[in-house]
């Protein structure tokens, strides 16, 4: 076993990295600095059918089936903001760019990629691979709506590109969108071009005591928590004053985003927006949550593993075309509680698609539903 690992280390000597914090320890850690180098790693892995776990900031590694990798491929060195065109409102970045760093740069010219607001160490590639969106999706749509171009290194090491660096494009099949939420099943997401939005002139957070049937015409974001509701406003000062008066409650200037929920287990409940109130009523009082009306997601923090309640809620959601997804949990949970639940329709089709990008199924194998 060790000699195999030693041989692999020799083979990948040019790309080796220091141990990656939080990553499985038995694997060989690499951090290629270019897409071509990443291609070399994946080609090697593919030739020997060695499973590869892609690692960005580690923030969303709790999602999906568990991977027992021979190689951990860190995107830490794929960290360039390659091309930012503020006047065209597009930016091209490598996968390993930290979201916090990117948004800070973009804010200098009053722009945003509308990526998650409290990203921690999350990277652009990681958030795209996991299909994660920020709270502002209520107004601007999910992250996948801003995917303009993608450079993928397929599981068998091919470098391919889809989409283009323009904000409106129907040239060819929409690979950039397919990459969002793909969890590496098409290969490594190496580089992307994202559509940007301007940051508004004025920003405000209004806090209300109770959920409302209506929060006014298309607010930026709304987060309902157990004891309060926060409504996020964006626009001109005149608009924000008018909206604040309409909403009532108390307010503060700027956007005050909630931190990720506490608890040993993180869940994402996904439902048609009309079902949100129903599911909140069924939620045990010890669970904390952030419900996103109009979006249909409830992010949940569970203190102690409670398979019965979690399964019951999952069944309720799945019976209504929804899902209950694990976003984080201790390793032991995954063997008794599936990360995704029931597989979606078209799973065979998904398998056939993945087989054409990663024929040996080496990048994050088993991470998608149905063990794909």
């Amino acid at each position: 076993m060790t000699s195999v690992k030693a041989a692999l280390r020799r083979r990948l000597a040019a790309f080796l990295s220091d141990p990656i914090e939080g990553a499985p320890e038995g694997a060989v850690a690499v951090a290629p600095a270019t897409l071509a180098a990443a291609g070399e790693v994946l080609k090697t892995a593919s030739e020997h059918s060695l499973p590869v776990l892609v690692w960005g900031g580690g923030t969303h590694q709790g999602m999906g089936g568990r991977v027992d990798p021979a190689i951990v491929l860190s995107t830490a060195r794929l960290d360039a903001i390659v091309d930012w065109q503020p006047e065209d409102m597009t930016v091209v970045v490598e996968a390993g760019v930290r979201i916090a760093d990117l948004e800070e740069r973009l804010a200098e010219r009053g722009q945003t990629a509308v990526l998650p607001e409290t990203p921690g160490d999350a990277t652009v590639g990681g958030v795209i691979a996991a299909g994660i969106s920020g709270f502002r999706r209520l107004r601007y749509g999910p992250t996948r709506d801003r995917m303009l171009e993608v450079d993928l290194i397929t599981g068998d090491g091919r470098a391919i590109r889809g989409g283009g660096r323009v904000v409106k494009n129907v040239t060819g099949y929409d690979l950039p969108r397919l990459a969002a939420g793909s969890f590496g099943s098409l290969g490594l997401i190496g580089r992307v071009c994202l559509k940007l939005w301007p940051l508004p002139e004025a920003q405000r957070t209004v806090t209300l005591a109770q959920p409302q049937p209506d929060y006014g015409y298309r607010p930026l974001a709304v987060i309902e928590e157990r004891h309060q509701v926060r409504v996020y406003l964006a626009g001109t000062s005149a608009e924000i004053e008018a909206r604040t008066a309409e909403l009532g409650g108390s307010h503060e200037e700027g956007w005050s985003w909630p931190e990720p929920l506490e608890g040993s287990i993180g869940l994402s409940l996904r439902l048609a927006p009309r079902l949100l109130a129903d599911i909140l009523e069924q939620m045990p009082s010890s669970w904390s949550y952030q419900a996103l009306p109009g979006v249909g997601e409830v992010r949940v923090g569970v203190r102690d593993f409670d398979p019965e309640t979690m399964s019951a809620l999952r069944r309720w959601a799945e019976n209504r075309d929804g899902a209950l997804v694990l976003t984080d949990a201790p390793a032991s949970v995954y063997s008794t509680f599936d990360a995704w639940g029931a597989v979606p329709a078209g799973m065979e089709l998904q398998r056939r698609v993945v087989a054409r990008f990663d024929p040996d199924r080496i990048v994050n194998p088993g991470r998608l539903p149905g063990g794909l």
């Binding site: 065109q85 299909g131 999706r137 999910p142 993928l152 904000v167 040239t171 015409y217 048609a272």
Partner: protein
């Protein structure tokens, strides 16, 4: 003989009146809104998803290509069969089921775009994509082409508004991809089906997102002496940090044509006209309209007209959306192009477009979704004039090359179809095209759905032009 059996099977399924095989109808269905004509074996008019699935199975047994079709308003040849094909017209799938609380609707592929928004108006909701053909085009066609429209600047194209599709696959299976819950688990196949131009299967229904109607809107028309000033106004507005609901531009030849046709009071002496619309909260709209006006003035606008009421707004929009109809007065035929460039390259590219038209001695006029960098150069001509079609095609080809060279793309909203298929290598490498071909293969291994569209022949590396047995590559 085989065709006879085939038609009889279809007639057994649908009855004789919904299977059209007479020469006239085969002729009519051989064309879309563009300038190419194809070869139709038979046309079917299914009314249910079950019938569509059965038609696909019958076609599969007889190895006849299947070409799905909406209203036929497409311009890229997406619905034009390249070999004798079975056309599946989806216009009879017209059910609409609205979920007001979730702001979604299941919509039959045959529902007209504008009919959907009319249907949901009572709930204060609309379907955001609004192609100029919206009174005639179908939702199924919008899904196939990932259609856009003026209001896609702020709202995004069709794909941003489709939550799920009901897809009839190559085996005749009916799959629902996506749901009304956010972020469906697994690969987002609904997103790849949108914009796939009928090559992956037949979309019979779509679950679409509905957008609240804005409580306030203001529409402004600004006239400029130079195209550059209009373009600078577009960039200036965006740089001010607002994304208007729409930012449309017309050059002088187009404005003259439109004014003659609609009589909306468009300034025909201006080199360029900019139509801007801001929508939203009443307080926002007032401030943003002022800002648009200020930016236009600082960039030398000679006149600015603000629509006083809904009737005047409608009139201005009628002028914009009637642009293509207006051209019919000038010449019997037209070729409408669709390319995209980075917004900042609009002026440069436009100068080159005029130059190309000059060299080919073609009348050209331009209308753009300027905010998106989406150009629509339009060449008006008389097809009976000898050699003119060759000149039109050659000029169109050059325009596409100029746009790609400026960092742009082949199509923003009309699709690739047949029209731009062979230009795909301008923007994609062999490996890129091969990857797209593999993707198609995963859905449709025998290429029964709308073959020969989107990807040039030979895209699949080692493709000898024969169907490849499933699984040989893995």
């Amino acid at each position: 003989m085989r065709v006879v059996t085939f038609v009889r099977e279809l007639q057994d399924l649908l009855g004789e009146e919904r299977v059209l095989a007479d020469p006239l109808r085969r002729h009519v269905y051989g064309k879309d809104g563009g300038i190419r004509r194809g070869d139709v074996a038979v046309v079917t008019l299914p009314a249910t998803v079950g019938e569509v699935a059965e038609i696909v199975r019958i076609a599969g047994r007889h190895a006849i290509p299947v070409v799905p079709r909406g209203a036929g308003t497409g311009l890229a040849g997406g619905a034009v069969p390249t070999s004798p094909s079975l056309v599946v017209s989806l216009t009879r799938l017209t059910e609409i089921e609205v979920d007001v609380e979730s702001r979604t609707a299941w919509v039959g592929a045959g529902v007209l775009n504008l009919d959907l928004s009319k249907h949901t108006a009572a709930f204060g909701l609309h379907f955001a994509p609004d192609p100029s053909s919206q009174a005639a085009c179908t939702i199924g066609g919008n899904v196939a082409n990932n259609s856009g429209g003026p209001h896609c600047l702020a709202e995004g194209s069709t794909v941003n508004h489709v939550l799920a599709v009901e897809l009839v696959t190559a085996t005749g299976e009916v799959l629902v991809l996506g749901t009304d819950a956010p972020d469906p688990i697994g690969l987002d196949l609904r997103g790849i089906v949108v914009g796939s131009e009928g090559t992956l299967g037949i979309v019979t229904r779509a679950l679409v997102k509905l957008t609240p109607n804005p409580p306030a809107a203001r529409t402004l028309l600004a006239a400029f002496e130079r195209v550059e000033d209009a373009a600078a106004t577009v960039s200036g507005i965006i740089a001010e940090g607002i994304v208007p609901a729409a930012l449309e531009m017309m050059d002088q030849p187009m404005t003259i044509a439109v004014e003659r046709f609609v009589g909306a009071g468009f300034p025909t002496d201006a080199a360029a006209v900019l139509l801007a619309e801001v929508t939203g909260h009443p307080a926002a709209v007032a401030a943003e309209a002022e800002l648009v006006r200020a930016v236009a003035e600082s960039n030398g606008a000679t006149r600015i007209r603000v629509a006083a009421d809904q009737a005047e707004r409608d009139l201005l929009w009628k002028g914009r959306k009637a642009a293509f109809g207006a051209v019919a007065q000038l010449a019997p035929d037209y070729y409408l192009h669709d390319t995209v460039v980075p917004r900042t390259k609009l002026v440069d590219v436009l100068a080159q477009v005029y130059d190309i038209a000059d060299r080919y001695d073609l009348a050209i006029m331009n209308v753009f979704h300027a905010g998106d960098g989406n150009l629509h150069p339009l060449m008006a001509f008389d097809a009976s004039e000898e050699g003119v079609l060759d000149r039109v095609h050659a000029a169109a080809d050059e325009v596409a090359r100029v746009c790609v060279a400026a960092g742009g793309s082949l199509s923003g909203e009309h699709g690739i179809g047949l029209e731009k298929r062979d230009l795909m290598p301008l923007v994609f490498s062999e490996a890129d095209l091969d990857a797209q071909a593999r993707l198609v293969e995963a859905f449709d291994p025998d290429r029964m759905f709308n073959p020969d569209k989107v990807l040039p022949t030979g895209s699949r590396c080692f493709d000898m032009g024969r169907p490849v047995p499933e699984g040989i590559w893995i």
